[in-house]
């Protein structure tokens, strides 16, 4: 089902971009978390409590999924930051890699070479997906390790539950995976593998915006469900915080449906080079 040859080459060709993403996201986590002890020490949050209670700020905080309580806890602080950039950047990485693995071959016309080799279409998709999946897992592994180290390094007096951290990290991974599946699916609808980077960025920012809007405006609450971000539970301060089955089901289900559709489309697709 998987061609080791294609898998190996796909890993190799995306290696350097993977390292750049790892390095950027890793650095941002550490730098971001380094602010936590400073803020606690200076009591900045407490001083600004009144300001946060004003109308506009309250809405803004809600849009970013932040509460005063969460910002003064190390894990709360980490996850608020998490939803700001780790999830967004990770989703960018995921959607761009996934939408590239097949489309780039068509765009650069190397698909003619690849598909004249003894491989089935299914093998091409599954081998490339395996490489994508490997990198997404590795990126999330790196985020997990660096996140954990930063939490331990900067927590000071603040305490957190490891299981909440792991559950939140799992949500981030599932979110990125879902965006990857969306990217792969869309890339196959486009003829001759035209680049989809712009569309990818638009999808993620759009989804993020809808989610933020639904948090601020109760009337728009339902609208938020068109965004995968809505399905990430960011209330890490809840004592019973963990993975909800229906949220996991949404991510896994959406991913499987989209990837299944991608296999089906690619199996029948005319490769026009």
């Amino acid at each position: 089902m998987i061609s080791r040859n294609i898998y190996r080459w796909e890993l190799k060709r995306n290696r350097s971009s993977f390292f750049v993403w790892c390095l950027s996201i890793g650095t941002l986590i550490v730098v971001g978390m380094a602010f936590f002890p400073v803020m606690i020490q200076e009591n900045i949050m407490k001083q600004m409590a009144a300001f946060f209670e004003t109308g506009i700020m309250k809405s803004l905080m809600a849009a970013f999924g932040a509460t005063l309580e969460s910002l003064t806890n190390v894990l709360g602080f980490y996850c608020t930051r998490n939803s700001q950039f780790i999830q967004i950047l990770g989703s960018f990485f995921s959607i761009m890699l996934a939408s590239k693995i097949l489309a780039q071959e068509e765009r650069e016309k190397s698909a003619e070479f690849l598909l004249s080799k003894p491989v089935t279409r299914i093998e091409v998709v599954s081998s490339k997906l395996a490489a994508y999946f490997t990198y997404l897992l590795m990126l999330n592994g790196v985020i997990l390790v660096i996140g954990f180290i930063s939490l331990e390094l900067f927590k000071g007096e603040s305490q957190y539950r490891l299981s909440s951290f792991l559950a939140h990290s799992a949500y981030s991974f599932l979110l990125m995976l879902t965006f990857g599946a969306i990217g792969l699916f869309l890339s196959l609808l486009i003829k001759r593998g035209r680049p989809t980077a712009n569309i990818s960025i638009g999808i993620i920012m759009g989804a993020y915006f809808f989610d933020a809007l639904s948090k601020v405006t109760p009337a728009a609450d339902k609208l938020g469900y068109i965004s995968p971000f809505k399905f990430v539970d960011s209330s890490v301060m809840r004592p019973d915080y963990g993975l909800d089955w229906w949220r996991v089901l949404y991510f896994v289900g959406a991913t499987l449906v989209l990837i299944g559709a991608a296999f089906w489309i690619y199996k029948k697709k005319d490769i026009l080079v």
Binding site: E108, F113, L115, S116, K117, P118, D270, V273
Partner: protein, 303 residues
């Protein structure tokens, strides 16, 4: 055994025509020329055979296997050279060839070195830095390293210098003698006539003729050029078999498919300054097929 066989194979891209009811048979061990002008459907036919695109209707078989269902099995024994060579730019030549070789269960290392020597190809260069001609050489190598039973070549000589073309043709003949069937697509007949025994002529997606090169030559078509004493423009020669006459000044030229005696009889009463009778090149015979088909939609009238 028939290596390639298609039955009414058709491919439409939406409403636009690719190939229409293509019926082809290529025998094992032959070098088959596949000739047609640009846009006639040569590449469409080849891509359908390779499973890059899927037929709209009809059936195709390679090595007796279905081109849609058994594509992977078929491709184990095919070497393919596309008309435009496009590879992964970041790879170097050796990497690309190894990548290509790893798809087959054959050890290709010695063969790669041997062929790289023959074609004076530097294995350490990046694909990105290669000229079109050098890319073409890489393409030759990747199509041959696994010793395929069938070579499908889509305009293989474009971009190759004459010396390399000669080497390439030698290599093809050599491979053919060892039993490899060659399917050679081209828009220039003169190139194919050196190599092939039979040619299929494709036009607007349809096969118009499949002929032995020798038969094509023996069609007795003559290229005739007459210089008259007076202007040739209003000259009417009463003679059947004159095809597409062209008059310029005192000169009249045409293809002649009729009886030589008739022509001489028709010229007896004319004032002829000069007469040139030549055997046309295959190119000209071939062009004729097209012209005549274009005008009348029937088989050309050559006896």
């Amino acid at each position: 055994m028939k290596v390639i066989e298609t039955h009414n194979l058709s491919k439409y891209y939406g409403k636009s025509r690719g190939i229409v009811d293509l019926n082809l048979e290529v025998e094992e061990g032959e070098i088959f020329g596949f000739i047609g002008p640009n846009g006639a459907g040569k590449s469409t036919a080849i891509r359908t055979l390779l499973g890059l695109i899927f037929p709209t209707s009809g059936k195709g078989y390679v090595f007796g296997k279905d081109i849609v269902k058994d594509s992977k099995e078929i491709k184990k024994h095919i070497g393919f050279m596309p008309s435009d060579v496009n590879y992964y730019e970041k790879m170097d030549v050796a990497e690309l060839l190894r990548y290509s070789a790893d798809f087959y269960d054959v050890d290709c290392d010695a063969r790669i070195r041997e062929l790289a020597d023959t074609f004076a190809l530097d294995l350490n260069r990046k694909i990105l830095d290669l000229s079109q001609g050098n890319k073409k050489k890489v393409s030759i190598l990747q199509s041959l390293i696994h010793r395929p039973k069938l070579l499908i070549l889509d305009e293989p000589t474009s971009g190759l210098d004459p010396l390399m073309q000669a080497k390439f043709f030698d290599l093809l003949r050599h491979e053919n003698q060892k039993g490899t069937t060659v399917f050679f697509s081209s828009h220039t007949l003169s190139e194919v006539q050196k190599m092939c025994k039979r040619v299929g002529i494709i036009k607007e997606g349809k096969i118009v003729a499949v002929e032995d090169i020798e038969t094509l030559r023996k069609k007795q078509l003559r290229k005739i050029q007459i210089e008259f004493m007076t202007a040739a423009e209003h000259m009417k020669l009463e003679c059947p078999g004159i095809l597409s006459p062209q008059a310029q000044g005192r000169e009249l030229s045409f293809m002649y498919a009729g009886n030589m005696e008739d022509l001489i009889a028709a010229l007896v009463n004319e004032k002829v300054a000069d007469l040139l009778i030549e055997e046309p090149t295959l190119e000209e015979i071939f062009l004729h097929y097209y012209d005549d088909q274009n005008e009348s939609g029937k088989e050309p009238q050559i006896q």
